[in-house]
Protein backbone atom coordinates (compact mmCIF):
# COMPACT_ATOMS: atom_id res chain seq x y z
CA UNK A 1 0.00 0.00 0.00
CA UNK A 2 2.77 2.37 0.97
CA UNK A 3 4.61 1.58 -2.24
CA UNK A 4 1.52 2.43 -4.21
CA UNK A 5 1.25 5.70 -2.41
CA UNK A 6 4.87 6.58 -3.17
CA UNK A 7 4.35 5.59 -6.76
CA UNK A 8 1.28 7.85 -7.02
CA UNK A 9 3.11 10.73 -5.42
CA UNK A 10 6.01 10.34 -7.83
CA UNK A 11 3.65 10.36 -10.75
CA UNK A 12 2.03 13.53 -9.46
CA UNK A 13 5.38 15.25 -9.19
CA UNK A 14 6.18 14.37 -12.78
CA UNK A 15 2.87 15.78 -14.10
CA UNK A 16 3.20 19.03 -12.15
CA UNK A 17 6.69 19.72 -13.47
CA UNK A 18 5.46 19.12 -17.01
CA UNK A 19 2.58 21.55 -16.67
CA UNK A 20 4.88 24.20 -15.19
CA UNK A 21 7.21 23.99 -18.17
CA UNK A 22 4.27 24.83 -20.48
CA UNK A 23 2.96 28.40 -20.86
CA UNK A 24 -0.51 28.63 -19.39
CA UNK A 25 -3.31 29.12 -21.89
CA UNK A 26 -6.91 29.94 -21.29
CA UNK A 27 -9.14 28.08 -23.68
CA UNK A 28 -12.27 29.73 -22.39
CA UNK A 29 -12.38 32.41 -25.09
CA UNK A 30 -12.78 31.67 -28.76
CA UNK A 31 -10.01 34.17 -29.44
CA UNK A 32 -7.39 32.18 -27.50
CA UNK A 33 -7.79 28.89 -29.37
CA UNK A 34 -5.29 28.23 -32.11
CA UNK A 35 -6.25 29.10 -35.65
CA UNK A 36 -6.92 26.57 -38.37
CA UNK A 37 -3.89 26.75 -40.53
CA UNK A 38 -4.93 24.11 -43.06
CA UNK A 39 -8.62 24.53 -43.94
CA UNK A 40 -8.31 21.66 -46.42
CA UNK A 41 -8.31 19.30 -43.45
CA UNK A 42 -11.70 20.49 -42.27
CA UNK A 43 -13.83 21.60 -45.19
CA UNK A 44 -14.07 20.58 -48.77
CA UNK A 45 -14.36 23.51 -51.16
CA UNK A 46 -13.52 24.65 -54.63
CA UNK A 47 -13.04 28.17 -55.99
CA UNK A 48 -15.33 29.11 -58.83
CA UNK A 49 -15.22 32.12 -61.12
CA UNK A 50 -18.66 31.43 -62.58
CA UNK A 51 -20.65 34.69 -62.64
CA UNK A 52 -24.00 32.89 -62.70
CA UNK A 53 -23.37 31.48 -59.25
CA UNK A 54 -22.76 34.90 -57.67
CA UNK A 55 -26.50 35.42 -57.17
CA UNK A 56 -26.54 32.56 -54.66
CA UNK A 57 -23.85 34.31 -52.67
CA UNK A 58 -25.50 37.68 -53.03
CA UNK A 59 -28.77 36.56 -51.47
CA UNK A 60 -26.88 35.48 -48.36
CA UNK A 61 -25.33 38.93 -47.88
CA UNK A 62 -27.22 41.38 -45.66
CA UNK A 63 -29.13 44.16 -47.41
CA UNK A 64 -27.43 47.53 -47.61
CA UNK A 65 -30.72 49.41 -47.89
CA UNK A 66 -34.24 48.28 -47.21
CA UNK A 67 -35.53 46.49 -50.33
CA UNK A 68 -38.64 47.78 -52.08
CA UNK A 69 -41.91 45.96 -51.44
CA UNK A 70 -43.42 43.81 -54.22
CA UNK A 71 -45.49 45.64 -56.83
CA UNK A 72 -49.19 46.36 -56.53
CA UNK A 73 -51.70 43.58 -57.09
CA UNK A 74 -50.07 40.87 -55.04
CA UNK A 75 -52.00 39.39 -52.18
CA UNK A 76 -50.02 38.65 -49.09
CA UNK A 77 -50.95 36.29 -46.28
CA UNK A 78 -50.02 38.98 -43.78
CA UNK A 79 -52.59 41.37 -45.23
CA UNK A 80 -49.88 43.83 -46.24
CA UNK A 81 -50.86 46.21 -49.01
CA UNK A 82 -48.28 48.34 -50.79
CA UNK A 83 -49.01 52.05 -51.21
CA UNK A 84 -50.90 52.76 -54.43
CA UNK A 85 -51.71 56.47 -54.15
CA UNK A 86 -49.73 59.06 -56.04
CA UNK A 87 -48.76 62.16 -54.01
CA UNK A 88 -50.94 64.37 -56.23
CA UNK A 89 -54.15 62.31 -55.97
CA UNK A 90 -55.43 64.09 -52.87
CA UNK A 91 -54.86 67.50 -51.29
CA UNK A 92 -52.88 65.61 -48.64
CA UNK A 93 -50.37 62.80 -48.69
CA UNK A 94 -49.19 60.30 -46.11
CA UNK A 95 -45.81 58.91 -46.94
CA UNK A 96 -44.92 55.34 -46.02
CA UNK A 97 -42.13 54.78 -43.49
CA UNK A 98 -38.71 53.60 -44.60
CA UNK A 99 -39.89 50.03 -43.98
CA UNK A 100 -42.85 50.68 -46.35
CA UNK A 101 -45.37 50.42 -43.53
CA UNK A 102 -48.17 52.84 -42.65
CA UNK A 103 -46.98 55.45 -40.14
CA UNK A 104 -49.78 54.89 -37.60
CA UNK A 105 -48.77 54.17 -34.03
CA UNK A 106 -50.44 53.61 -30.69
CA UNK A 107 -48.95 55.34 -27.67
CA UNK A 108 -50.05 54.39 -24.17
CA UNK A 109 -49.45 56.18 -20.92
CA UNK A 110 -47.25 54.35 -18.40
CA UNK A 111 -50.10 52.40 -16.81
CA UNK A 112 -51.82 51.90 -20.14
CA UNK A 113 -54.98 53.84 -19.35
CA UNK A 114 -54.58 56.68 -21.86
CA UNK A 115 -54.35 55.55 -25.47
CA UNK A 116 -53.37 57.87 -28.28
CA UNK A 117 -53.24 57.00 -31.97
CA UNK A 118 -50.61 58.96 -33.84
CA UNK A 119 -50.39 59.44 -37.61
CA UNK A 120 -47.11 60.91 -38.84
CA UNK A 121 -45.39 61.79 -42.12
CA UNK A 122 -48.32 63.90 -43.31
CA UNK A 123 -47.80 66.41 -46.09
CA UNK A 124 -50.20 68.81 -47.74
CA UNK A 125 -53.52 69.93 -46.30
CA UNK A 126 -53.45 68.36 -42.86
CA UNK A 127 -56.79 69.97 -41.89
CA UNK A 128 -58.65 68.24 -44.74
CA UNK A 129 -57.00 64.95 -43.78
CA UNK A 130 -58.06 65.33 -40.17
CA UNK A 131 -61.61 66.10 -41.28
CA UNK A 132 -61.78 62.96 -43.45
CA UNK A 133 -60.28 60.65 -40.83
CA UNK A 134 -62.58 62.01 -38.16
CA UNK A 135 -65.63 61.52 -40.36
CA UNK A 136 -64.70 57.92 -41.18
CA UNK A 137 -63.86 56.90 -37.61
CA UNK A 138 -66.95 58.59 -36.18
CA UNK A 139 -69.19 56.81 -38.69
CA UNK A 140 -67.59 53.45 -37.93
CA UNK A 141 -67.64 53.67 -34.19
CA UNK A 142 -70.65 55.93 -33.64
CA UNK A 143 -68.64 57.95 -31.16
CA UNK A 144 -67.25 61.48 -31.18
CA UNK A 145 -63.46 61.45 -31.26
CA UNK A 146 -60.98 64.09 -30.16
CA UNK A 147 -58.03 64.94 -32.37
CA UNK A 148 -54.98 67.14 -32.15
CA UNK A 149 -53.07 68.51 -35.13
CA UNK A 150 -49.40 69.38 -35.15
CA UNK A 151 -49.14 71.01 -38.55
CA UNK A 152 -45.49 71.96 -38.24
CA UNK A 153 -44.29 68.39 -37.65
CA UNK A 154 -46.99 66.90 -39.90
CA UNK A 155 -48.71 64.68 -37.38
CA UNK A 156 -52.19 64.06 -36.05
CA UNK A 157 -53.04 62.58 -32.67
CA UNK A 158 -56.37 60.85 -32.10
CA UNK A 159 -57.53 60.20 -28.58
CA UNK A 160 -58.28 56.49 -28.19
CA UNK A 161 -57.10 53.33 -29.90
CA UNK A 162 -58.20 53.72 -33.53
CA UNK A 163 -55.07 52.34 -35.18
CA UNK A 164 -56.86 49.72 -37.27
CA UNK A 165 -59.69 52.08 -38.23
CA UNK A 166 -57.22 54.69 -39.44
CA UNK A 167 -55.26 52.04 -41.33
CA UNK A 168 -58.47 50.82 -43.01
CA UNK A 169 -59.24 54.37 -44.10
CA UNK A 170 -55.70 54.78 -45.41
CA UNK A 171 -56.06 51.59 -47.46
CA UNK A 172 -59.21 52.95 -49.10
CA UNK A 173 -57.24 56.04 -50.11
CA UNK A 174 -54.23 54.02 -51.20
CA UNK A 175 -51.77 55.37 -48.60
Amino acid sequence: MAALRIFARGNLVVTTTLSVSQIQQRWGSYKSSSKYMTPEDYTDYEITKDENEWKYVERLLPYKIIPKPPTIGNKFPSGYKPASASPKDNPYFIERTKNYMQPVYLYRSPRGIKKVTEITKIQGNIWALEHDIKKYVEECTGRKIATQIHEFAGLIKVKGDYVNRVKEWMHTKGF
Binding site: P62, K64, I65, I66, A83, S86, F93, E95, K98, A153
Partner: protein, 286 residues
Protein backbone atom coordinates in the same frame (compact mmCIF):
# COMPACT_ATOMS: atom_id res chain seq x y z
CA UNK B 1 -33.22 124.75 -38.23
CA UNK B 2 -29.75 123.63 -39.31
CA UNK B 3 -30.51 120.15 -37.90
CA UNK B 4 -33.61 119.91 -40.04
CA UNK B 5 -31.70 121.03 -43.11
CA UNK B 6 -28.96 118.45 -42.48
CA UNK B 7 -31.52 115.68 -42.15
CA UNK B 8 -33.16 116.62 -45.42
CA UNK B 9 -29.77 116.63 -47.17
CA UNK B 10 -28.99 113.19 -45.70
CA UNK B 11 -32.30 111.80 -46.91
CA UNK B 12 -31.73 113.16 -50.39
CA UNK B 13 -28.29 111.57 -50.50
CA UNK B 14 -29.71 108.25 -49.47
CA UNK B 15 -32.37 108.46 -52.14
CA UNK B 16 -29.78 108.90 -54.89
CA UNK B 17 -27.98 105.66 -53.93
CA UNK B 18 -28.54 102.70 -56.27
CA UNK B 19 -31.22 100.31 -55.01
CA UNK B 20 -29.91 97.46 -52.90
CA UNK B 21 -29.97 93.95 -54.24
CA UNK B 22 -31.47 91.62 -51.66
CA UNK B 23 -31.69 88.43 -53.59
CA UNK B 24 -29.45 86.58 -56.00
CA UNK B 25 -32.36 85.20 -57.98
CA UNK B 26 -32.50 88.49 -59.85
CA UNK B 27 -32.18 87.71 -63.52
CA UNK B 28 -28.64 87.51 -64.73
CA UNK B 29 -27.84 90.72 -66.57
CA UNK B 30 -24.56 89.57 -68.08
CA UNK B 31 -25.17 87.60 -71.23
CA UNK B 32 -22.83 84.68 -71.46
CA UNK B 33 -22.77 83.09 -74.85
CA UNK B 34 -19.76 80.83 -74.57
CA UNK B 35 -21.19 78.68 -71.76
CA UNK B 36 -23.06 75.56 -72.73
CA UNK B 37 -25.56 75.02 -69.89
CA UNK B 38 -25.16 71.82 -67.93
CA UNK B 39 -28.56 70.47 -66.98
CA UNK B 40 -28.31 67.44 -64.78
CA UNK B 41 -31.62 65.61 -64.62
CA UNK B 42 -31.55 62.77 -62.15
CA UNK B 43 -34.12 60.04 -62.12
CA UNK B 44 -34.46 59.11 -58.49
CA UNK B 45 -35.44 55.59 -57.54
CA UNK B 46 -38.40 56.80 -55.46
CA UNK B 47 -39.17 59.64 -57.87
CA UNK B 48 -42.91 58.94 -58.22
CA UNK B 49 -43.35 59.14 -54.46
CA UNK B 50 -42.29 62.77 -53.91
CA UNK B 51 -44.79 65.23 -52.54
CA UNK B 52 -42.24 68.02 -52.85
CA UNK B 53 -40.78 68.58 -56.28
CA UNK B 54 -37.08 67.79 -56.75
CA UNK B 55 -35.22 71.03 -56.16
CA UNK B 56 -33.55 72.73 -59.09
CA UNK B 57 -30.52 74.83 -58.22
CA UNK B 58 -28.28 77.02 -60.37
CA UNK B 59 -24.79 75.74 -60.90
CA UNK B 60 -22.46 78.72 -60.51
CA UNK B 61 -18.79 79.35 -61.07
CA UNK B 62 -16.00 80.68 -58.85
CA UNK B 63 -13.35 81.47 -61.46
CA UNK B 64 -14.70 84.97 -62.15
CA UNK B 65 -15.92 87.60 -59.74
CA UNK B 66 -19.09 88.03 -61.77
CA UNK B 67 -21.56 85.22 -61.41
CA UNK B 68 -22.04 82.92 -64.39
CA UNK B 69 -24.81 80.39 -64.39
CA UNK B 70 -23.29 77.24 -65.78
CA UNK B 71 -26.43 75.14 -65.62
CA UNK B 72 -29.12 73.62 -63.48
CA UNK B 73 -28.82 70.68 -61.17
CA UNK B 74 -31.55 68.65 -59.53
CA UNK B 75 -31.45 67.77 -55.85
CA UNK B 76 -33.39 65.19 -53.87
CA UNK B 77 -36.40 66.70 -52.06
CA UNK B 78 -36.06 64.51 -48.98
CA UNK B 79 -32.66 66.09 -48.30
CA UNK B 80 -32.92 69.60 -49.74
CA UNK B 81 -36.68 70.20 -49.41
CA UNK B 82 -37.43 68.67 -46.01
CA UNK B 83 -39.72 70.38 -43.51
CA UNK B 84 -37.98 73.32 -41.79
CA UNK B 85 -38.06 71.75 -38.34
CA UNK B 86 -36.54 74.56 -36.28
CA UNK B 87 -37.15 72.51 -33.14
CA UNK B 88 -34.86 69.77 -34.42
CA UNK B 89 -32.32 72.34 -35.61
CA UNK B 90 -32.32 73.84 -32.13
CA UNK B 91 -31.79 70.42 -30.53
CA UNK B 92 -28.79 69.89 -32.80
CA UNK B 93 -27.28 73.29 -32.08
CA UNK B 94 -27.76 72.85 -28.35
CA UNK B 95 -26.14 69.41 -28.50
CA UNK B 96 -23.16 70.77 -30.44
CA UNK B 97 -22.62 73.53 -27.91
CA UNK B 98 -23.11 71.31 -24.88
CA UNK B 99 -21.05 68.23 -25.69
CA UNK B 100 -17.81 70.17 -25.83
CA UNK B 101 -18.50 72.37 -22.82
CA UNK B 102 -16.70 71.53 -19.63
CA UNK B 103 -17.49 73.84 -16.75
CA UNK B 104 -14.48 74.69 -14.60
CA UNK B 105 -16.40 76.62 -11.96
CA UNK B 106 -15.32 75.32 -8.57
CA UNK B 107 -16.07 75.93 -4.92
CA UNK B 108 -14.74 74.41 -1.71
CA UNK B 109 -16.96 72.42 0.60
CA UNK B 110 -16.79 72.75 4.38
CA UNK B 111 -14.36 69.83 4.44
CA UNK B 112 -11.96 71.52 2.01
CA UNK B 113 -11.84 74.99 3.59
CA UNK B 114 -8.87 75.29 5.93
CA UNK B 115 -9.53 74.84 9.64
CA UNK B 116 -12.82 74.39 11.35
CA UNK B 117 -11.97 71.12 13.03
CA UNK B 118 -12.84 72.15 16.54
CA UNK B 119 -16.08 73.20 18.12
CA UNK B 120 -15.96 77.01 18.43
CA UNK B 121 -17.72 77.14 21.82
CA UNK B 122 -19.43 74.65 24.13
CA UNK B 123 -22.84 73.40 23.14
CA UNK B 124 -24.54 74.78 26.26
CA UNK B 125 -24.14 77.56 28.79
CA UNK B 126 -22.72 80.41 26.64
CA UNK B 127 -26.03 81.85 25.47
CA UNK B 128 -24.88 81.66 21.88
CA UNK B 129 -26.25 79.59 19.04
CA UNK B 130 -24.94 76.05 18.81
CA UNK B 131 -22.19 75.51 16.24
CA UNK B 132 -19.82 72.63 15.50
CA UNK B 133 -17.42 74.22 13.01
CA UNK B 134 -16.38 77.70 11.91
CA UNK B 135 -16.40 76.47 8.26
CA UNK B 136 -20.04 75.48 8.23
CA UNK B 137 -21.99 76.87 5.20
CA UNK B 138 -23.85 79.14 7.64
CA UNK B 139 -20.65 80.96 8.52
CA UNK B 140 -18.97 83.80 6.69
CA UNK B 141 -15.84 82.27 5.12
CA UNK B 142 -17.31 78.84 5.44
CA UNK B 143 -17.66 76.18 2.76
CA UNK B 144 -20.28 76.30 0.02
CA UNK B 145 -23.15 73.85 0.15
CA UNK B 146 -24.02 72.28 -3.24
CA UNK B 147 -21.67 74.61 -5.13
CA UNK B 148 -20.27 73.93 -8.61
CA UNK B 149 -17.53 71.28 -8.74
CA UNK B 150 -14.88 71.27 -11.43
CA UNK B 151 -14.71 69.74 -14.01
CA UNK B 152 -18.38 69.30 -14.91
CA UNK B 153 -18.78 67.77 -18.37
CA UNK B 154 -22.01 68.36 -20.26
CA UNK B 155 -21.50 65.60 -22.78
CA UNK B 156 -24.52 63.78 -24.13
CA UNK B 157 -25.43 62.20 -27.41
CA UNK B 158 -28.35 63.26 -29.56
CA UNK B 159 -30.23 60.31 -31.12
CA UNK B 160 -28.78 59.34 -34.48
CA UNK B 161 -31.88 60.07 -36.54
CA UNK B 162 -32.34 63.44 -34.83
CA UNK B 163 -28.87 64.34 -36.05
CA UNK B 164 -29.78 63.23 -39.58
CA UNK B 165 -33.06 65.18 -39.43
CA UNK B 166 -31.13 68.24 -38.22
CA UNK B 167 -28.87 68.11 -41.26
CA UNK B 168 -31.73 67.73 -43.75
CA UNK B 169 -33.77 70.46 -42.07
CA UNK B 170 -30.84 72.91 -42.03
CA UNK B 171 -29.88 72.20 -45.66
CA UNK B 172 -33.51 72.73 -46.67
CA UNK B 173 -33.78 75.96 -44.70
CA UNK B 174 -30.58 77.27 -46.25
CA UNK B 175 -31.79 76.42 -49.74
CA UNK B 176 -35.24 77.90 -49.18
CA UNK B 177 -33.71 81.13 -47.89
CA UNK B 178 -31.42 81.39 -50.92
CA UNK B 179 -28.36 80.91 -48.73
CA UNK B 180 -27.18 77.70 -50.37
CA UNK B 181 -25.20 77.97 -53.57
CA UNK B 182 -23.76 75.25 -55.72
CA UNK B 183 -20.55 75.78 -57.63
CA UNK B 184 -18.77 73.53 -60.11
CA UNK B 185 -15.41 73.54 -58.30
CA UNK B 186 -13.41 75.58 -55.80
CA UNK B 187 -10.69 76.65 -58.27
CA UNK B 188 -10.04 80.41 -58.23
CA UNK B 189 -7.49 82.23 -60.43
CA UNK B 190 -5.47 83.96 -57.69
CA UNK B 191 -4.49 83.35 -54.11
CA UNK B 192 -5.30 86.95 -53.11
CA UNK B 193 -7.79 87.30 -50.23
CA UNK B 194 -9.18 90.41 -51.95
CA UNK B 195 -10.49 88.24 -54.79
CA UNK B 196 -12.64 86.20 -52.40
CA UNK B 197 -13.81 89.37 -50.65
CA UNK B 198 -14.79 90.97 -53.96
CA UNK B 199 -16.57 87.82 -55.06
CA UNK B 200 -18.59 87.67 -51.86
CA UNK B 201 -19.41 91.37 -52.12
CA UNK B 202 -20.46 91.04 -55.75
CA UNK B 203 -22.75 88.09 -55.20
CA UNK B 204 -24.34 89.29 -51.93
CA UNK B 205 -23.19 86.23 -50.07
CA UNK B 206 -23.02 88.07 -46.77
CA UNK B 207 -19.92 88.49 -44.67
CA UNK B 208 -19.40 84.89 -43.64
CA UNK B 209 -19.25 82.04 -46.12
CA UNK B 210 -18.65 78.33 -45.67
CA UNK B 211 -17.24 76.45 -48.65
CA UNK B 212 -17.73 72.69 -48.69
CA UNK B 213 -15.72 70.44 -50.97
CA UNK B 214 -15.93 66.73 -51.59
CA UNK B 215 -12.41 66.02 -50.37
CA UNK B 216 -10.22 67.31 -47.56
CA UNK B 217 -7.30 68.44 -49.74
CA UNK B 218 -8.54 71.70 -51.22
CA UNK B 219 -7.23 73.65 -54.23
CA UNK B 220 -4.17 75.72 -53.28
CA UNK B 221 -5.50 79.13 -54.31
CA UNK B 222 -8.68 79.06 -52.26
CA UNK B 223 -6.80 77.67 -49.27
CA UNK B 224 -4.32 80.59 -49.37
CA UNK B 225 -7.00 83.17 -50.15
CA UNK B 226 -9.31 82.21 -47.29
CA UNK B 227 -6.53 81.54 -44.79
CA UNK B 228 -6.40 85.12 -43.49
CA UNK B 229 -10.14 85.87 -43.69
CA UNK B 230 -11.57 84.53 -40.48
CA UNK B 231 -15.20 84.57 -41.54
CA UNK B 232 -14.64 82.61 -44.74
CA UNK B 233 -13.99 78.96 -44.07
CA UNK B 234 -13.51 75.80 -46.06
CA UNK B 235 -14.51 72.34 -44.93
CA UNK B 236 -14.67 68.82 -46.39
CA UNK B 237 -18.17 67.37 -46.85
CA UNK B 238 -17.84 64.94 -43.98
CA UNK B 239 -17.36 67.84 -41.57
CA UNK B 240 -20.69 69.42 -42.46
CA UNK B 241 -22.73 70.15 -39.36
CA UNK B 242 -25.75 72.14 -38.27
CA UNK B 243 -23.84 74.61 -36.10
CA UNK B 244 -21.40 75.64 -38.84
CA UNK B 245 -24.17 75.93 -41.41
CA UNK B 246 -26.05 78.35 -39.16
CA UNK B 247 -22.88 80.16 -38.08
CA UNK B 248 -22.13 81.21 -41.67
CA UNK B 249 -24.44 83.42 -43.72
CA UNK B 250 -23.98 81.46 -46.91
CA UNK B 251 -23.22 77.83 -47.57
CA UNK B 252 -21.41 77.07 -50.82
CA UNK B 253 -21.26 73.44 -51.90
CA UNK B 254 -19.40 72.03 -54.84
CA UNK B 255 -21.62 69.93 -57.06
CA UNK B 256 -19.77 66.78 -56.07
CA UNK B 257 -20.09 67.59 -52.37
CA UNK B 258 -23.82 68.24 -52.75
CA UNK B 259 -24.24 64.84 -54.39
CA UNK B 260 -22.14 63.10 -51.74
CA UNK B 261 -24.14 64.70 -48.92
CA UNK B 262 -27.36 63.68 -50.64
CA UNK B 263 -26.14 60.13 -51.20
CA UNK B 264 -24.91 59.67 -47.67
CA UNK B 265 -28.02 61.09 -46.00
CA UNK B 266 -30.31 59.04 -48.25
CA UNK B 267 -28.35 55.94 -47.29
CA UNK B 268 -28.90 56.72 -43.60
CA UNK B 269 -32.60 57.31 -44.19
CA UNK B 270 -32.98 53.92 -45.88
CA UNK B 271 -30.29 51.74 -44.34
CA UNK B 272 -31.31 48.24 -43.37
CA UNK B 273 -28.97 47.77 -40.41
CA UNK B 274 -30.30 50.58 -38.23
CA UNK B 275 -31.29 48.06 -35.59
CA UNK B 276 -27.65 47.05 -35.28
CA UNK B 277 -26.57 50.68 -35.49
CA UNK B 278 -28.72 51.87 -32.62
CA UNK B 279 -28.16 48.87 -30.34
CA UNK B 280 -25.35 50.45 -28.27
CA UNK B 281 -27.55 53.44 -27.45
CA UNK B 282 -30.53 51.50 -26.16
CA UNK B 283 -31.46 52.05 -22.56
CA UNK B 284 -32.74 48.50 -21.96
CA UNK B 285 -29.41 46.79 -22.56
CA UNK B 286 -29.65 43.01 -22.34
Amino acid sequence: MSMLFRRIVNKLQRATCPPLKYCTTVENQAKIDDVVPIISEIQYDDGNNFYQKPRQVWLENLNTVEEKKLGLITLHPHIYAAAPRIDIIHQNVRWQRMYRWVSYAHTKTRAEVRGGGRKPWPQKGTGRARHGSIRSPLWRGGGVAHGPRSPTPHFYMLPFYTRIAGLTATLSVKLAQDDLHIVDELEIPTSEPSYVEQLIEERNWGPSVLFIDSYDIMPTNITLATDQIKHVNIMPFYGLNVYSMLKHNTLVLTEKAARLIEEKLLYHLHRADNNQLLRPFRLNQQ
